[in-house]
């Protein structure tokens, strides 16, 4: 069988490459046959055995050289010499398993976390938004000049904001509706959108159509909806017949006019864990839609292709000022502001991400320094060998190539392992990351792979730099005469020491940062929120106005639900309210009967909840004085309230609050305080204890808020109970969905997530940095001890005590450690203030953290140095002197 030429040649070469030994044997055998035939010929010609052999050898020439020629021919030439370098490097690395393992772990961690970070950054900051020409999309919001606070936009102002630089502007609001068709009722999230919403984004429904002008102008007329692809396939099995049919949303039929594509994302969903499942025409009550003081909508806009952001800004500022003059009451202090939508969405994620970048960058730098240090120590140890090779004519280029190939090989294997780390790291990051980081969309794709390879190459080059310098400065005759006095080694060794100091300093900065965050987390966890969180489940039920038109109807629903849930097995207590702690707030203006501690005319307000009878019992809030609510506190009875201690201390300092009265406004009835309960931190551990009021839910007209939440306390299986709750609601009202059931502990943990993310992240990097730095200290000390074996042996022989020797070696290392620690503390002092917002009751310069970290680090560093130092004290002088 004859193969086409090039293929045949390739086959030969591959065989030659893979079966190198077989090829060698074959060539050798062929030569031997030839030589023996020559000898035999000589013998036959009458020569003696010896003469025949000599003659044959003379005639045959140097078999090695033409064997080499043949082998060159049958191999890949230069490519194979690289393969040989790689094989040699691999063999060298295999012979130093300790070094290799440390270097690979260093690289895998350093490269792995960087790849994972890149994957997250890529989606969060780099990747363009999923709309055509995303550079022209802007977010628009309003600020109140005095307070500088960012807020939503008044729909009535939107027309004025349509300055010439904008092609179009569109308003939207977040909404939730109850879907009660085909299957279990559920609450779905979505957007109410104004005219030109899809036009601004540049993407619309892929089936059906966008909203018609009349549908947007008069949202009440015939209700229409556009569904997300997700909902379309989940609830309606992608039935194309759904278009034109109606679905029941909040009890009202809505005609489905369109379905969005699977990739569609509303701007509000980008970087959020939620996703919009429906889009309906924006329907604001006329009094809100026309009131310039009612700020209700989010706005996105599209710039004209030729317009710049600065132009739009200028034009909007002019509009804002003229509106302020025309409508001083509502617009006097309000100004519009814009930013590119991409930047605006990235803004929320930026602090977390910058922290990430800082930590990961430092970790990679440390990994680089460490690898460089390791390679340096290694090539110093091999100086003599290299010098011999250079002296024998191996060429500096080849020695340099060897180092580079070694570093490259390490980096390549390290980055492969790193991808494994990245894979795991990404899963952790997705689980821990705050929603704004958009980590959930992060993938290990081709871009990440390319980045990882690029990084590996860069690391290989950077860390091979110093060792390569050493080799290129090598003077073989000096190195061979005496390694210790080698002129080339000295400056490079100084470099190595500087590397170590830098490594220690960087690690310490990370450690201090991680320490501060952990300390702050520990303080947060130690804070008692003031109510039971472990054994309490909470959820919300949004009762639609269509079926529950007023607060009385809602109260009836919840009283009945309370009764039924109370009868479930294992339930210790049930309560309902408008809001439970950790689930948002609601406040009211108040006017106490004797406003002590408040300046006259000051607007007073307090957090206020309408709660059921067993609210305090369910949450485990202790009663301090007076009583809690009873069944007698109902509509028509004397208005009563329970307040917390903070309220009593704020408005009745030094007095008895019980029996005092306040009202919610001039025309509202006076309410008597009948009880004082303990304070709690409604919004989690980081929140303050604020004055709070509790009204009886049964006295509905006193405080007619939307009752919407249910909490259950149980000593038994919470999971089973959580599953049972929605069933009870459905039994009560088959069209009524219930939102997610969570324990209060889970809600608490969610609030802590961003801090925990930062804390875990920074401290794991700090741990990594610590390990790397210790490896560095160990490596450098080991090397310096091995270099001075002769000297140390001599000292021992001359009567130095092991303790004295230990002091000698450790003294050197501790000077370097001290310098590194000092630099690290200085760096940390300068940098930890960046953590400000993430710290809780911990100053960025917390002395205890600084002291503990620095001392701990120094101790660990000394210990790492003590191991090789101790080994040096056990040297046998007779042996070392002979070797030296």
């Amino acid at each position: 069988v004859s193969l086409p030429g090039p293929l045949r040649a390739l086959g030969f070469r591959l065989r030659a490459l893979l079966g190198r030994d077989a090829l060698d044997r074959s060539l050798e055998q062929e030569m031997r046959f030839h030589l023996e035939s020559l000898i035999e010929e000589g013998r036959r010609a009458g020569l003696s055995e010896e003469e025949a052999r000599r003659d044959a050898r003379l005639r045959f020439g140097n078999p090695l050289s033409f064997r080499e020629a043949s082998r060159e021919l049958l191999s890949f030439g230069r490519l194979e010499s690289l393969a040989m370098e790689v094989r040699h490097a691999a063999r060298r690395l295999r012979r130093a398993p300790g070094f290799t393992a440390v270097a690979l772990v260093t690289l895998a961690l350093g490269l792995g976390v960087n790849s994972a970070l890149f994957a997250v950054l890529d989606v969060a900051l780099l990747r363009p938004l999923p709309y055509p020409e995303p550079d022209r999309l802007v977010a628009l919001w309003e600020i109140e000049i005095g307070r500088g606070e960012r807020g939503t936009v008044a729909l009535a102002n939107l027309g004025d904001y349509s300055v010439p630089a904008f092609e179009s502007l569109a308003a939207s609001t977040d909404m939730s509706l109850d879907l009660t068709d085909s299957g279990e009722p559920e609450t779905i999230l979505g957007q109410g959108v104004g005219p030109r919403f899809f036009e601004v984004l540049g993407v619309g429904p892929v089936r059906g159509r966008a909203f018609l002008e009349e549908e947007l102008r008069d949202p009440g007329a015939g209700k229409v909806v556009i569904l997300s692809h997700r909902l379309f396939s989940r609830r309606f099995a992608e039935d194309p017949g759904l278009l034109g049919r109606t679905v029941r949303l909040d009890g009202e039929p809505h005609r489905v006019v369109g379905v969005l594509g699977p990739d569609f994302r509303a701007p509000r969903d980008i970087g959020a864990r939620t996703s919009s499942d429906f889009i309906v025409p924006l329907a604001l009550p006329p009094e809100i839609a026309t009131n310039r003081g009612d700020h209700e909508v989010n706005v996105v806009g599209r710039l004209r292709p030729e317009a710049s952001l600065a132009q739009a800004r200028q034009q909007l500022e002019a509009v804002g000022q003229s509106l302020a003059q025309s409508f001083p009451d509502t617009n006097g202090e309000v100004r519009p502001r814009i930013a590119l939508l991409h930047d605006d969405l990235a803004r929320a994620a930026r602090p977390s991400l910058l922290l990430l970048v800082g930590a990961v960058g430092a970790a990679l730098l440390i990994a680089c320094l460490n690898l460089s240090n390791l390679l340096l120590v290694r090539s110093l140890a091999r100086t003599r060998e290299t010098a011999v090779r250079v002296a024998l004519g191996a060429g500096r280029a080849q020695a340099l190539r060897g180092i580079l190939v070694e570093a490259g090989l390490l980096a390549l294997v390290g980055s492969a392992l790193g991808l494994l780390v990245a894979h795991l790291g990404l899963r952790v990051a997705v689980a821990l990351a705050p929603a704004a980081v958009r980590a959930a969309e992060a993938r290990l794709d081709g871009r990440v792979l390319a980045f990882s390879l690029f990084l590996a190459g860069a690391v290989a080059l950077v860390s091979a730099l110093l060792p390569a310098r050493l080799v290129s400065h090598l003077r073989p005759h000096e190195s061979l005469r005496s390694l210790e006095r080698s002129l080339a080694a000295a400056p490079t060794l100084r470099f190595g020491r500087a590397l170590l100091v830098a490594e220690v300093a960087l690690s310490l900065v990370l450690l201090v940062g991680g320490g501060l965050l952990l300390r702050s987390l520990a303080r947060l966890h130690a804070v008692d929120v003031g109510f039971e969180t472990e054994r309490v489940l909470a959820t919300s039920v949004n009762l639609p106005e269509a079926r529950y038109p007023d607060e009385h109807a809602r109260l009836r629903f919840f009283v009945e639900l309370e009764r039924r849930v109370g009868a479930l097995p294992g339930v210790a207590a049930v309560a309902f309210a408008n809001r439970f702690p950790l689930r948002g707030g609601w406040s009211t203006g108040i006017e106490p009967d004797s406003p002590i501690g408040a300046s006259p005319g000051e607007h007073l307000s307090a957090d206020a909840q309408a709660v059921s009878l067993r609210y305090f019992e369910t949450l485990g809030i202790p009663l301090r004085r007076g009583r809690t609510f009873t069944a007698a506190d109902r509509e028509g009875a004397a208005p009563v309230a329970v307040v917390n201690e903070a309220f009593a201390a704020r408005y009745y300092p030094g007095e008895e609050a019980l029996g005092r009265r306040f009202r919610r406004g001039r025309s509202a009835p006076w309410v008597e305080i009948v009880g004082v309960v303990a304070d709690l931190r409604r919004n989690g551990q980081a929140a303050k204890q604020e004055p709070g009021i509790y009204f009886a839910a049964a006295q509905t007209s006193l405080y007619p808020v939307h009752l919407g939440e249910l909490a259950v306390r149980s000593g038994r299986d919470l999971r089973a109970l959580a599953a049972a709750l929605p069933r009870e609601v459905l039994r009560l009202d088959p069209e009524q969905p219930m939102n997610r059931v969570l324990t209060l502990r889970e809600s608490l943990e969610r609030d802590l997530l961003p801090r925990r993310f930062a804390g875990i992240l920074l401290s794991s990097f700090a741990g990594l940095a610590l390990v790397l730095a210790l490896v560095g200290v160990y490596g450098v000390t080991s090397y310096s001890v091995s270099r001075r074996t002769g000297e140390l042996g001599l000292r021992l022989a001359l009567g130095a005590t092991p303790a004295g020797l230990l002091r000698l070696i450790l003294g050197e290392t501790s000077r370097r450690l001290a310098l590194g620690v000092a630099l690290g503390v200085a760096g940390a002092l300068a940098l930890t203030r960046l953590l400000g917002g993430l710290l809780f009751e911990t100053t960025p310069t917390d002395p205890a953290t600084f002291l503990a970290t620095a001392a701990g680090f120094a101790a660990a560093g000394l210990l790492a140095a003590a191991v090789p130092a101790w080994r040096a004290t056990r040297l046998d002088p007779t042996v070392t002197l002979r070797a030296g």
Partner: protein
């Protein structure tokens, strides 16, 4: 005479042609091929082993020759080379152009 460089060695292309010609008479090993060239040239041409083996391996690589291990006349293991179809075509081409070239040179040299 044959193409020779200044050291009296055969130029590469010519050696390839001679090898193909010798192998066309029957499979042979490296030693046998060198001997055959020496004898057939009336003991004028001598092939250096240093160029013979690289040439053999090059021809094998290019698919002109096939090689396999066999047993020689004196009962030793030897690598035998044989002509492939491709090698035979190449030999025909080379012989033709060699014949033209040498008769042309002979005519020029034979001019009084």
């Amino acid at each position: 005479m044959g193409k020779m460089d200044q050291d009296g060695e055969l130029v590469q292309g010519t050696l390839d042609m001679l090898i193909l010609r010798v192998v066309a008479r029957g499979e042979n090993h490296g030693f046998g091929i060198a001997q055959a060239i020496h004898l057939l040239s009336g003991e004028v041409l001598r092939v250096e082993e240093g160029s013979l083996y690289p040439a053999l391996h090059r021809l094998e690589l290019r698919g002109m020759l096939d090689a396999e291990w066999g047993v020689s006349e004196n009962n030793r293991r030897a690598r035998f080379y044989g002509l492939t179809a491709k090698g035979r075509r190449r030999l025909e081409q080379e012989s033709e152009s060699w014949a033209r070239l040498s008769s042309a040179i002979a005519r020029v040299m034979g001019t009084p």
